[in-house]
Every structure is written in structure tokens, then in C-alpha cells.
Symmetry: none
Subunit: 191 residues, 4 copies
Amino acid sequence: MASNKYEEITKAAVMLFERKGYHATSVQDIADEVGLQKGSLYHYITSKEDLLMQLAHRSISEFNGQMEEILKNASLTNRERLHLAIENHLKYVTKNVQLTTVLLREAFSLGEDQHQVIQDLTDKYLNLWTQVIEQGIAAGEFRPVHARITALSILGSINWVYRWYKEGGKLTASDISKLYSDLFLDGIENR
Amino acid sequence: MASNKYEEITKAAVMLFERKGYHATSVQDIADEVGLQKGSLYHYITSKEDLLMQLAHRSISEFNGQMEEILKNASLTNRERLHLAIENHLKYVTKNVQLTTVLLREAFSLGEDQHQVIQDLTDKYLNLWTQVIEQGIAAGEFRPVHARITALSILGSINWVYRWYKEGGKLTASDISKLYSDLFLDGIENR
Amino acid sequence: MASNKYEEITKAAVMLFERKGYHATSVQDIADEVGLQKGSLYHYITSKEDLLMQLAHRSISEFNGQMEEILKNASLTNRERLHLAIENHLKYVTKNVQLTTVLLREAFSLGEDQHQVIQDLTDKYLNLWTQVIEQGIAAGEFRPVHARITALSILGSINWVYRWYKEGGKLTASDISKLYSDLFLDGIENR
Amino acid sequence: MASNKYEEITKAAVMLFERKGYHATSVQDIADEVGLQKGSLYHYITSKEDLLMQLAHRSISEFNGQMEEILKNASLTNRERLHLAIENHLKYVTKNVQLTTVLLREAFSLGEDQHQVIQDLTDKYLNLWTQVIEQGIAAGEFRPVHARITALSILGSINWVYRWYKEGGKLTASDISKLYSDLFLDGIENR
DNA sequence: TATGAATGAGGATTCATTCAT
DNA sequence: AATGAATGAATCCTCATTCAT
């Protein structure tokens, strides 16, 4: 399972799913990429769909893992938590644009059951973000905004980044996360 | 072109593309939905891909149209423009969730050339948003933020709405747009 | 039947069948060419195949007609008959390259029964040629060659012309028929 | 490529293309003939059209090969060359009537580009024939005929043979080639 | 005469997956 | 572990023809 070859296949799949999309990527394409015959691939993978599932699952799990770390850390204010959450998320997205794209754009192609699993993990991620905001409001750090909508709003914003971020652009992940943190904390109004 | 039947087909396609995705929707599915033979469909459409193209094009054009109206209106402050832009966008998204989903999720399945056309219109939309923010900064209405990134951020946020909005939920489009406007103008920090 | 429109359709069909081949020509193509709707065409034609049949039949009939004239003319020697046959055939081919092409290249696409009709007429044509040669041999005008093979040989030669003849080339039908007559009468050997 | 199965498919295709024509032969027909599923065929072939292309190419190449051999052989007079050319051509046609039919009748169904390739090879073949005649004229072996037209004439004649030759008929390829050589060298006139 | 909607069968091709070797 | 032949279902699309208006 965790063999070298499997990781190779995984990488090829991420790359191809991102570039061409899940449906437009054939098992043959993946086989070609790793220098194997189509049939041989099935020694390593269960199915094309399962490959997608593994990738999506890995990605959302890592997002959740990061967020749980942040919430566990008792020494942080919620303002710091939010800032860190944004930074971590954007760092992950920018360092793993392809994988993030697979999660955010392609997971929908999973069968219903599999897709639900990913959906649940995604909901959980949203809940963790909501929690930070709720805590911040309770602590008087944040204004009494609608926590869930705010979480959805921020997440939408930073998820969207996979759509335009290009490696080697002018802005680093840090730059971007500063801009986003600023925006969501202060807004753009000139006071 | 604008025949009754074509609109019927269009509606069926929007519905199916949204529910199952473009690739998972067969021409047969669409034909079944409108009660026509598969072959008969081709009296109205050029190809399945063209159908997708028409839908995506219609959608992004309407987004652009709205935004151009706003920019043309000289009696508005840029603060008002931004507010209106958010409101219009969200109203369109919530009133046409399926169509918006087709634009935002499925347009990627278009062939390269067609996709580029949509991409260009999408870029144009981004530029119009950027313009509002730049003007607002110049006029001293907004803080000197990074206009383009801010536009991307807000657009990401409100585009994301198609992913979670359900008709008949507690929040109306107006409610949501008020929350979003607030957020992007003032941020959440408690000052 | 013999209406103006039918002739128009006939001309369009000849042109298209020659240019693209019978199978690659759709009824739509023909309709477009005459500025009619596909359905309207069926007021004039029975079927696409029948259209082909009419064309092939007309062509081979005219070939046969010419040849019968020649044989009926008692004042001709068989040498003259052969010369005239070659000339007439080549004049017809060069003046009606498209129609000849349809006969010689596309008639094969007819259904078995229809094709047999054309085949029979073609066989008849061969017989008429054979007759001229046989008569010429009997009369001592020609050497005692194998009449049928010789007829096939000459016919092959002059039928082939539709494959390379281009209107407006250097050689006229008369030029070509002189060269061919010469060749088949005298051969190329230098004596 | 040169696998057993591919040759089997090739043979089935030749047979079917000859019998029914390229267009009237479905991939299903070919699959049935070799006892494979339609889809399985695509392990061996690229497309139906490519199959046709391979066959046409093989055939015209062999014609050209034969002719080049003849021209290379310095010990032959041009009279002998012409005789040999006719004999070789007819032997090939009669031994491979089906394949020759595919070349001469069906190659036209190739797409433009592919067809041009075959056309070019066919033109080359014509040039080789023209060369023999030109050389013969220069050497005083042949009368000063129009070399190209003469080549076209002879080639037309012997190509036509695929249209009437039936295996097991009275005349062998040798018989036929003797008759044709005679005809083209001496003509039919009784002197 | 002309339309154009509708048919329904047929066609080439793709593709994920299986399995004997 | 690897192959590659084979499957069989699915997919998009074309097209000659019919027919009500």
C-alpha cells in the first residue's frame, strides 16, 4: 500500500487530475506517466475512483489536522488562532495546489457514498473554523458576527485561491495570508 | 434558437449538470428529461459541449452585465458600488444556484478554446471588481489595500456560496449580502 | 419528375457525389446546395440511393446509346467504328467528368439489385465493344486478337481517364482520343 | 504490430472492404469476422480509417517496389522492362485482387491527408512507368508517343483488371499479360 | 410545395476493469 | 510484480426518412 510505486502513482494521479480533470484522465494516462501497463496499475490501486478518494481524503485530513492543532493550543488568543488558521490553510494550498485542486474541484466526481465521507470531513473543517470565531466573539475579541456565515465566507475566500495561485508569482503564501488576515479582521473601510 | 424546446432542453441540462455533473450526465439523460429521442436533441443543440458552453456563457455574461451597470452609474459612491455588487452577485447566485454551479464547477470541462472564452469573461469580471476597489481607494473611501487580491478575496467568498446555499434556508440573499458587505467593509475585529 | 427542381437536385448530387463520394455526402448537403430543407427534398426524390441510381443509369445509358448508333451505321468500317467509339467515349467522359465519376466510382454503393441493373448495362456496353472488334477481325481489319480482353483493355484505359482528366488541361478530348486510337491500333513498338 | 491477430484483422478487413466496400463495412463486421468484441479490436488497430490506410499503403508500396526493381536492372531493354512491368503488375493484381480492389476502389474514402499520401505514391508509380516509356523512345525501341499519356493508358488498362478478373477463370495472369503486352506493343491493326 | 420536428437505428470509439500467463 | 489481451457497456453523434402542418 505505502510502497514506493503507490506514491509514484499517487503523484501522477494528482498531477493529471489537476491538469485534465478526473474524468478526462484515463487509467491509461496514469499508467503511461508511471511507466506501467494499464493492467499492472491494478496491483497497486483498487480503482480509479478509490485513487481519487485517497487523494481527497488525505488532503482534507491534513486541513483538519492543522486546524485541530490550532484549537488545542491553549496559549493562543482567538485572534491569533484565526490568523494562524488563515496562514496554515494558505500555506498548504500554495504548497499543494495540485492536491488542493483535486480536493476542491474533483471530489465531486466521487460516488455518492465516498463523496459523503469527504463532505463530512469538510463540514467538520467548517465547524472548527466556526468554533474559533464563536470563541473569539465570546471572548470579546471579535464583533458579534454570524459565526457560521463568517467562517463560510473566509473559507470560500481562501479556498478560491487554488483557482488563481500560480507558483513563482510575486506574492508568497505569507504575503497573501497577511493580506487576507487584514481584510477579514479590519475590512477595507477607511475610518 | 430561442424556441420553447431549446429552453426546455437548456433547463434540463442545467438541472442535470448541477445534480450529476457534466461528465456524468449523458445526452440520453437530457433527452429523457425533455421526452425526446437522443437523436432528436440534435435538432436543437450542436453538441453536449456546446450546450455547456451556452449555459456558462449566459451566466458569466449576466454577471458582467450587472457589474457594468453598477460602474456606469455615476451617482454612486464606490462604497455603494461595492455593496451593490455584492448584493447583485449574491442575488443572482441564490436565484440561479444551478446555473451558477454549472458556470463555476463545470465550465472547466469545456475544451481548451471554449474554456478560454469563459476564462476571459471571468477575468473581465474580476477586473470590474478590481476597478471598484481601486476607485474607492483613490477616493479615500477604502483603505489602500491590494485591490486585485481584495477583489479575488471577495469574489472567492461570494462565489463559494453556490456550494452551501440551499433554497428555503433561513437566510435570504439580502441577509447574506448584508453580512458579507459588513464583513468586507468592517472586518470582524472588535475595536 | 423532370421538373426544374429535380434537375437542380440532380446537378447538386452529381457534384457532391463526385467531390465527396456518395457515402460522405449527406442528404443535408444536397438540400443545402439547392437551398431546400432536407424534408422538402423528398418531394422530388425517392431516396438518396435512387438519386444515385438515376445518375448512374443515365450515364451508362448514354454510353450505350452512343455505341449503338455507331454499330447501326452501316457505312463505317470497323476501324472507323473503333476510332469513333473511342472518341465518343472520351468526349463524353471529358464533358461529363463528374457524372462519369459517379457512374464508375460510386455505382458500387448501390444496393445489390440496383447495382446489378447497372452492371448489366455495363456488360452490354462491353459486348458492343467486343462486337466491333470481332467484326473487325472477321473483316480482316484487325489482327486475330482476343476480342473480349481487347475490349476490356481499351475500356479500362478510357474509363480510367476520369481519374486524371482535369478540365482546362493542355489536351482536348480530341487530342486524347487520337493518342488512344493510335496506341490501340498501332501499339508503341518502333518498327 | 506484426502480431498474428493483426494479420488476421487485416485479412478480414481486406475481404470485407472488397466485398461490401469500406463504408458499408462496420467495425462490428470486422470484429465478428475475427471473433473478437468490437472494443477488443482497438488493441490492434488505431481506427477503421487507419486500417484502410495500412492496406492501401502496403499495396501501392509493393507496386512501387516491383517497378523500382525493374528500372534498376541494367541488363534489360526497355521493351523487356515494359513487358515485365505489365506482367508483374498483373500478377500482383490477380494474386491479390481483394487488396488491389481496396487500393484502387476504396482509398478514395480516406481522409484528405491520408489520401494524399496514397495519391503521391500512386503518382510516383505513374512516373516510373512514364520513365520506362521515355527511355524506350530515347533508345529508339518505341515510337515517339506521348509518354505520360501512354503510361496512363496502359496503367488504366491493367488497373481495370481488378474489376473483372475472377480467380479460377480460363485465363492466367501470364495469359493476360501476354495479351496486354502484345496489344500495347503492336496494336490491333492488321498490317 | 415546403417546412422542420421527430425518429430510431446504427456507427466509431473509449475506457475501467479482469484475468490467465 | 507485470503484462497485455479481452471484455462489454457506455458515449456522443449522424443520418436517411417520415409526417403533420
